[in-house]
Amino acid sequence: MPDLLIELFSEEIPARMQVRAAEDFKKLMTDGLVEAGLTYASAAAFSTPRRLTLTVEGVLAESPTTEEERKGPRADAPEKAIEGFLRGAGLTRDALEERETPKGPVLFAKIAKPGRPAAEIIAEVLEKTIRNFPWPKSMRWGEGSLRWVRPLHSILCILSDEAGAQVVPLTVDQISASDKTQGHRFMAPGAFAVTGFDDYAAKLKRAYVMLDPTERAETIWHDATNQAFANGFEVVDDKGLLAEVAGLVEWPVVLLGRIGDDFLDLPPEVLQTSMKEHQKFFSVRNPKTGRIERFVTVANRETADNGATILAGNEKVLSARLADAKFFWENDLRVAKAGMGDWLKALENVTFHNKLGTQAELIDRMATLAREIAPMVGADPDEAEEAARLAKADLSSEMVYEFPELQGLMGRYYLQAAGKSDAIAAAAEEHYAPLGPSDDVPTAPVSVAVALAEKIDKLTGFWAIDEKPTGSKDPFALRRAALGVIRLVLEDELTIALIPVFGAGIERNKVQSPLVKLIEEEEFTSTGIVTALQKLSRDQTSNRQAEIDELADQLKASESKTQQLLDELNQLNEKLVGDRYALIGFLHDRLKVYLRDQGIRHDIIDACISMPGNDDLALLVKRARALSDTLGTEDGENLIQGFKRANNILTQAQEADGVEYSYGADIKYAETEEERALFKALDAAEAQITPAMKQEDFTTAMTAMAGLRGPIDAFFEAVQVNTENKTVRRNRLNLLNRISEICLSVADLTKIDG
């Protein structure tokens, strides 16, 4: 069976797209071949900056012949119908077969679909693949209409077996397939022919092209770490950069370079970011000093001077880059030491969101919030407020303008330089955290206060203007902010009632302002009309009735407009009051996701959300954990059954009787030992549960509750609740109510599944 080799040779493919493109190429081609009946043994795809390559081994030489059966008209159908059928199927009368069916004799045709040669199928599938390739961005070039990621220059497409290789005839937009490719652009220019994949890979390597991106990455990493080690250094790991650099070269040559002494005192993050973002350099650390002192660059060729010119050039470019960074750093330090006033002022002109004001306004709100939250997280209110006021100042710095990813971190450096407390400096860096689910949560109180303020302001603001996440759309990352609040509260074990904080936060966004302004304007208009009317009516000299009527109409319109605006304002105010609860609901939803990952069932959380104080997330989770633990025990699991049984009987009886059995169970009407035992057990449990709940000692309370399982089971075993004796029955129903009330004081067990 023949092997297939395809190479699509183009101008340089963006590094970030190569790996995905190779996968897509393989999938589209092999799916297409299989769909057309061409099965194969194995396939692999590769990419370099200039080519996508696919090798498919053991392809069928032709697709198998298939036979299709088609049902025709009845054998006794009019001749015309039969002729029509024959024409459609492309057959003659003698090819038809008559078969008995429940509907009588029917004619059947067997249509053979002959197999097609592999080359024909491959050409079709390849053309379709090229024309429909899912590039993230594609382009046209020259006069053509074909789209590719960059101009496509040649197509190599051959089928090879023992007899040799044959080009698969194919032409796409004037590019005809051949058996030729090219080597390295500079080290081995010129085309050469290949006979199969092994020959192709070997010839490419001789022509200075390493086909496999994994091999290129390994070579780079191996050579980089070796060279660094030989000089007493270590390369800073960066998988993303490694993959990218492997996509920028066909023939990787690793060069170890120096960073000018002038720059070694820049913050290491600045060195790293500048080298990585601008130059795609790896950072190389001196383990003795802990500083970044060297870099690794990867060239795409060997040279007669062993890369000396290339390295010198790269060192020079880096110096220019770092000179910029140093210039920013020194300028920024000057502004920082002067108190950052210029930076904060500049934020007055930066819009945060057109309905939520500028960055400066955002900072004001954050500062107020941070001060409010400070006592709840053990931070000094003055310090928390100051930290919040300064935490975003670095957004105006030149360094952050150049490297946005350094926001926060630069803030920390600059605040330290400004002589602010360590706590305030740390808050600048940490207040964005946690960003991802695995990101560390800040623990320093001031950082926590500012981090919470940042997220809560965001949530309340976007809630107030109805920019909530929907489906997969969450443009302002509000889910992330909510999860941030949750993790801060839980992991730092904070006690905060969020509803009042949300309420204050929502008000602080002043989303009513535009409406209030409109109302004031309309009222001003009304007043003006009234004055004009008064003046007119005093004028007795002439008949101005028409004007008066007109003005009266205008006044009416203006007043009704005012009323309409006032109604809108009322509605908005009501909505805003409701928002704090809606927002807590949003947090509860995120909390469920968060706790589910920790093995706590959603119904258990629901049972706890129904309890008072559900805006204190730490309390809520403490309750949920205790409940989850309790329900995990045999007693707990069975108690739920007992509770449900008690509750069902009680509810049914209350519905049937139209009364509430809610008070007055008395042991003196107890008839059986089990009944009396339950009374005692309930008294004992209540004596434990009530104080425990007051102290939020849910474990004790729930253990006591679970301890009721025995007496409750025994009670149901021995006692018939609905007896003839009405007094006894009422007493027993009231007793069931006590079970229910005691259990419900711990958590809303009606929400538990099962």
Partner: protein, 313 residues
């Protein structure tokens, strides 16, 4: 840099070699456009000529002004006035990359010693309503050119596609000549009796313009000029296609486009003066883009833009 015997000696020699090279490759060597622009792309030889179906091949130096980049001539790499070398060929030839590499060799970059790379960099000009795909070209880690296949200009799809090359001349020349500070770069042959450095010519003007751009330019006047240019651009385009005096069809796409360029440059000046807020910025860019689109619409109605009475009929 110690390349070969053919290493150029001065900034102007590099420009001259590029001119000779591209002339040899069949480009019309044009002169700079006589208005203030932010980049070589603004020259109508690129913006307007990349539109329509008629073939085009041109190369030219374009003085470019970026008021916000002024550093009083002190920064080794940043200038508020600098030169770009621009090549535009329509349709883009299949060997454009090779042609480009040839131009690097022409200015003394030895391909056997240097590491040339094409690194993804898509180009977009929000003010021109234009975008394209291509690369920044690196020589030993240094960006020496932008290489773009225009896909859209002034809101029009480009058919055929133009290939555009832009060389940042100062940066490229500093690299080739091995100079660390732009002001130290020899402008003419350093062996000549009156040798002039880049600084001899431009240090004074960089200082003057930096002060004017940042602190002195009259913003009220500039704001008014912006409005006037915008209004006049529209007036020009609204004029009847048929000239009443000559009776000829004369669509004034180029004069209108001049007003668009003017508005764009005034916007840059206002930006440098710091009187444009972040939100306003977008609005201003949008206004210039609207003009650029209308000029593009007008240009494709002209003969140079590919219009013929036959196709119009």
């Amino acid at each position: 840099m110690s390349d070969t015997a053919t290493a150029p000696k001065s900034f102007q020699e590099i420009i001259l070699r590029l001119q000779t090279y591209w002339a040899g490759k069949g480009c019309a060597i044009l002169q700079p456009y006589d208005m203030e622009v932010g980049a070589g792309t603004f020259h109508p030889a690129t913006t307007l000529r990349s539109l329509g179906t008629r073939p085009w091949a041109a190369a030219y130096v374009q003085p470019s002004r970026r008021p916000t980049d002024g550093r009083y001539g002190e920064n080794p790499n940043r200038l508020q006035h600098y030169y770009q070398y621009q090549v535009l060929i329509k349709p883009s030839p299949p060997d454009l990359q090779e042609l480009y590499l040839g131009s690097l060799e022409a200015i003394g970059i030895d391909m056997a010693l240097h590491d040339i790379r094409f690194v993804e960099d898509d180009w977009e000009s929000p003010t021109l309503g234009a975008w394209g795909l291509g690369w920044e070209v690196w020589c030993d880690g240094m960006e020496v050119s932008q290489f773009t296949y225009f896909q859209q200009v002034g809101g029009h799809d480009c058919h055929p596609v133009s290939g555009e090359l832009t060389y940042g001349l100062e940066r490229l020349a500093m690299y080739v000549l091995g100079v660390d500070h732009v002001m130290d770069m020899p402008f003419n042959d350093p062996q000549t009796p009156i040798a002039l450095s880049y600084g001899d010519i431009f240090k004074q003007t960089e200082e003057e313009y930096a002060r004017w751009n940042f602190d002195t330019a009259d913003t009220d006047v500039l704001l008014r000029h912006f409005e006037e240019a915008e209004a006049h651009c529209r007036e020009i385009l609204d004029a009847d296609h048929d000239d009443p005096k000559t009776g000829k069809r004369i669509i004034m796409a180029h004069p209108a486009y001049d007003q668009c360029i003017k508005a764009s440059h005034i916007f840059n000046l206002l930006d440098a003066r710091g009187v444009i807020s972040v939100t306003e910025r977008q609005a201003y860019i949008g206004r210039v883009r609207a003009l650029a689109k209308q000029c593009a619409d007008a240009f494709v109605q002209t003969r140079a833009g590919g219009w013929t009475p036959e196709t119009a009929a």
